[in-house]
């Protein structure tokens, strides 16, 4: 099950909502709300950083460098 928003996609079955991506995303496009990961698609640039730091490989950012 994939949520596609802007360029970045998260695999909700793999994501454990650790927040590492939120720490690294320069655009605040990924925010942990309570115990869920919220993506704000219009903020995604995309740069690929969040996908790079994700420990589980849950993020795909095709437009990222």
């Amino acid at each position: 099950m994939n949520d596609r928003r802007g360029s970045i996609t998260v695999d909700r079955n793999t994501c454990v909502v650790c927040g590492a991506c939120a720490a690294a995303c320069p655009a605040e496009a990924l925010v942990v709300e309570g115990l869920s990961l919220v993506i704000v698609p219009e903020r995604c640039r995309p740069c690929g950083i969040a996908a790079l730091v994700c420990p589980t490989g849950a993020l795909a950012c095709p437009g990222g460098k």
């Binding site: 454990v16 650790c18 927040g19 590492a20 991506c21 939120a22 720490a23 690294a24 995303c25 320069p26 605040e28 925010v31 942990v32 709300e33 309570g34 115990l35 950083i49 790079l52 730091v53 994700c54 420990p55 589980t56 490989g57």
Partner: protein, 404 residues
């Protein structure tokens, strides 16, 4: 909804930094609100749960059998070529139950008079010009938002640390400013006594390290932290699986821990007008090890005393609150700067260089006494600058502050 007004201080995040700051400010007879977005403080755990010696921890929280999973009485570093660098150091630290640890700290804040609201998330800062005047809060159960005005806001929101970004104190972390981490609590692993164990090298943890921290009863936190830029496209979870196959084959996986851990350089300013950042949100983790529990507690005390002073003087300006920045930079911040520079060199070394360093150090007799590293002996023994880094590596996890 009813808006409760009149807090002197709103603290964002009930981790060690936020709970301790809230407790200390409440003890100073100020009205404190402690916001925590999670429904349960301390859960889920995102930590390897190691802390330093008793005297460092008990300044903040008394340790008992429920809090302590295992004492740490030494360390073992395994260099990339397999060279083992081992020291017994009784009393050097503990592996704790981090969930309970955080809950006890939050309970201490509440008994000191702070109001704790779980399930309430800071979603922005209230501003008047450059002055922060409180927090915009979302009640996650109802979805409604409200303003919580306060003279001073404390950003203790951990690695995500959006609030210091809103206050203009920091930017997002670069990929090489955080360890991408994965860990399992393994049941049924062979342990060399009560030592904490580190494995270096690109095979298991490029740009970081792998760890085994004893949890008692044949259990251990077994994990890895990597620099995402050096990981060759593999994830932390993939590196963890490889390390587990090597170090804990057959062990039962009982708790998966995933997270980012800041190893960023310290901030030049920890205070803005009406705002201070503390703990991991303020880049107060040790930038060599990523360890940040006790650092967060130390930072919280420094922040709280500057806040109480500012409140009694009637000014919440960045200038007034800057006493906290200066105190931090004079003490822990100073050693963290050294660790930051050491880390930049150390984690850039090739496997051969790291192994050479390990072999050299394992031949230095009497490098450690019961209190830790003997600096003079170390300097004499290690004329070359680089081997010192392996000692610093152990020291960044263990040992009294004075030895840093």
């Amino acid at each position: 909804m009813t808006v409760i007004r009149g807090f002197d201080v709103v603290v964002i995040g009930a981790g060690p930094a936020g709970s301790r700051a809230a407790a200390q400010i409440a003890r100073g007879a100020r009205r404190v609100l402690l916001l925590e977005k999670r429904p349960r403080v301390g859960y889920p755990v995102r930590c390897a749960e190691a802390v330093g010696p008793r005297e460092d921890v008990e300044r903040y929280l008394p340790l008992d059998d429920r809090l302590v999973s295992s004492p740490v009485n030494g360390f073992l570093i395994v260099a990339p070529d397999g060279t083992r660098f081992e020291r017994k150091m009784p009393g050097i630290g503990f592996v704790v139950d981090r969930e309970l640890f955080d809950q006890r700290l939050a309970a201490a804040a509440v008994s000191a008079g702070a109001e704790l609201r779980t399930g309430h998330q800071a979603v922005g800062l209230i501003r008047e010009g450059t002055q922060v005047r409180g927090v915009r809060v979302k009640d996650l159960a109802s979805g409604s938002e409200y303003d919580e005005p306060a003279a001073i806001t404390v950003g203790a929101d951990g690695v995500e640390s959006l609030s210091p970004r809103w206050a203009g104190l920091k930017k997002s972390l670069r990929p090489d400013e955080l360890f991408s981490c994965a860990e399992e609590l393994i049941d049924g692993i062979e342990l060399p006594g009560e030592a904490i164990e580190f494995h270096l090298g690109r095979r298991f943890a490029p740009g970081g390290y792998a760890w085994v921290f004893p949890k008692g009863k044949g259990k251990a936190n077994v994990g890895i932290g990597i620099n995402p830029l050096q990981a060759g496209g593999k994830t932390a979870v993939e590196y963890l699986n490889a390390f587990l196959a090597h170090r804990a084959p057959g062990g039962k996986r009982t708790r998966l821990v995933i997270g980012g851990c800041s190893v960023a350089r310290g901030l030049s300013a920890l205070a803005a007008n009406g705002f201070v950042a503390v703990g991991e949100a303020a880049n107060q983790n040790n930038p060599f090890s990523g360890g940040g529990i006790v650092n967060a507690l130390e930072g919280a005390d420094m922040a709280a005393s500057a806040i109480l002073h500012a409140l009694s003087g009637g000014s919440a300006s960045a200038k007034e609150l800057g006493a906290y920045t200066r105190e931090w930079r004079r003490t822990v911040g100073k050693s963290n700067d050294a660790f930051y520079h050491a880390a930049r060199i150390f984690y850039g070394l090739s496997d051969e260089e790291m192994s050479r360093m390990g072999r050299k150090l394992s031949r230095v007799p009497g490098l450690f006494d019961e209190k830790g590293i003997r600096p003079l002996l170390m300097v004499r023994a290690l004329v070359a600058a680089r081997p010192r880094l392996l000692v610093q590596f152990a020291g960044s996890w263990l040992g009294g502050k004075g030895r840093r």
